[in-house]
Amino acid sequence: MSACPKILSQHFDVPNAHKIEVYCSRGGYTSARKVLTEMGAEQVIEEVKKSNLRGLGGAGFPTGMKWGFIPRQSKKPCYVVINADEGEPGTFKDRYILCLDPHALIEGVIIACFAVKSHKAFIYIRGEYVEPVRIFRGAVEEAYEKGFLGKGIFGTDYSLDLIIHVGAGAYICGEETALLDSLEGKKGFPRLKPPFPAVKGLFNSPTVINNVETLACVPHIINKGAEWFSKLGCEKNGGTRLYSVSGHVKKPGLYELPLGTSLKEIIYEHAGGIRQDLILKAVIPGGISSSILKANEIDIRMDFNSLAAAGTMLGSAGIMVMDETTCMVKALLVATRFFAHESCGQCSPCREGTGWILKIVERIWEGKGRPQDLDNLIDISQNIEGNTICAFGDAAASPVISYIKKFRGEFEHHIKTGSCDLVEAALK
């Protein structure tokens, strides 16, 4: 078992760590103070670049580079938007940070805003997160009272406001441009890129959008140095990660481990292995949008590049584990129902395709499948992929293609016999 320093989760077990006194007594806000009083904006960006911190919301884009894209001489104000619309099924890490270490996030926000010369940040939190919103709101109020937010922070002439914006329930608002539309008071419709938010984002101004987990890493990078941080991970992937593990494991929960930890180790050592010592059947490694892996494929490093090479992705690091009792037809039905439900409806391949896929999978599940259904499903999915405004289309297609490719026999059997008896037989 790899020994992993606790960084993002170091305060999770500390009583009242969400209170500012406790956070400060443990060295909190020293990084933000250091940045504002001793460092220049460029220097901060350089440090984050060197740390190899990558966006931890799902896309994995290098954070320092993203900050560097903000035009230096823009006459318009620049905004920082924090994406706390955690909605990728299988993922629950940001909820922990918001509830158990909100000041680490606020400190990260201060540093990010200073680096890109922004004076106003918006955090977009999903509407279902009533308790996290309440706790985070309390933390923001404390930070204002202490003078860590507002005018003249730490006695400098730097000012910053942090506004909490609560969403209203729509998975697509986790997509960064849909989130911006939603923040502007519209339906959450993804925008065509370019222009990228760094040039034309919120209120048509340059905007940086970062995930909660990403920003919570930033104070630690400043505190202990980019080199220390980059060494925690593996090549081009600095730091640790919060892996959300759920499904058929003995100990579902959130585990902080280095980027690049093996999936097998996470499931069998940290999450306690498969419940009732049943046999593992499949794993979704990075939230429901990532392609599924078969049991014999889990000897793999959990980093952006290794998973991409295996035809899937790290995404939000939401690991969902399925044992031998899982019917893959039903699992695909659950996934496709979700995508059909959440498509924003802007592009026809996505809107029509996800609905069509759902109908066919539903039919197979009900025992009325036809022999040509599987090829049709793959065909429809491939016609969505790459033909849409946002990545949702690809996300909707990848489960369909990977489930059928990897478990074709089970799907064919289901179509032929109209029932699930393969799973039942395996259990006898």
Binding site: G87, P89, T91, H165, M322
Partner: protein, 164 residues
């Protein structure tokens, strides 16, 4: 029944505070609707109109936003709103059974409200708490892992008007 002016009149200070945070009036739409729903329990046509007038928006733009987001409802929900997650982790650990059980215990179907206004039952997509699957949101609270026994307990507390 509230009149459309009541909302903006009664919550003037809170609304002004919301407005002051945004660069455009329109950007305040979600927070304004969130506030209205919190105060009145649902977004009636009168509220939609009040929001539109307050923010200088065509009524249509308010309507399309109300219908786009799943947390907005135009009719009052029951006093106890059971929202059971039906996404993957909850499915793997048996949310279907939980939903069926709730249907019988509450005597309503998914998407329905009980006639006495006490219960509503909905299914929702991942609530970001898969580690406690199968789980649900009961009003503001996340509860899980759910079993028939734990639901019996919750229901008996509700029925005897105790705190959950």
């Amino acid at each position: 029944m509230i009149k459309n002016s009541d909302f903006t009149y009664q919550y003037k200070l809170e609304l002004e505070q919301i407005m002051s945070q945004y660069e455009t009036k329109r950007a305040a739409l979600l927070p304004v609707l969130n506030l209205a729903q919190e105060k009145y329990g649902s977004l009636s046509p009168e509220i939609e109109k009040a929001a539109a007038e307050y923010l200088d928006l065509p009524l249509m733009q308010v309507r399309e936003v109300v219908s786009f987001y799943t947390l907005y409802h135009t009719k009052l929900k029951g006093k106890y709103h059971f929202q059971v997650c039906r996404n993957m982790s909850c499915h793997l650990l048996g949310c279907e059974e939980i939903i069926e059980y709730l249907k019988t215990r509450l005597s309503i179907d998914v998407g329905e409200d009980s006639e006495d206004g006490r219960f509503s039952l909905s299914t929702v997509e991942c609530l970001g708490a898969c580690e406690i699957a199968p789980m649900m949101q009961l009003n503001d609270r996340y509860i899980g892992p759910l079993t028939k026994e734990s639901m019996d307990e919750i229901l008996s507390k509700i029925l005897s008007e105790q705190k959950i």
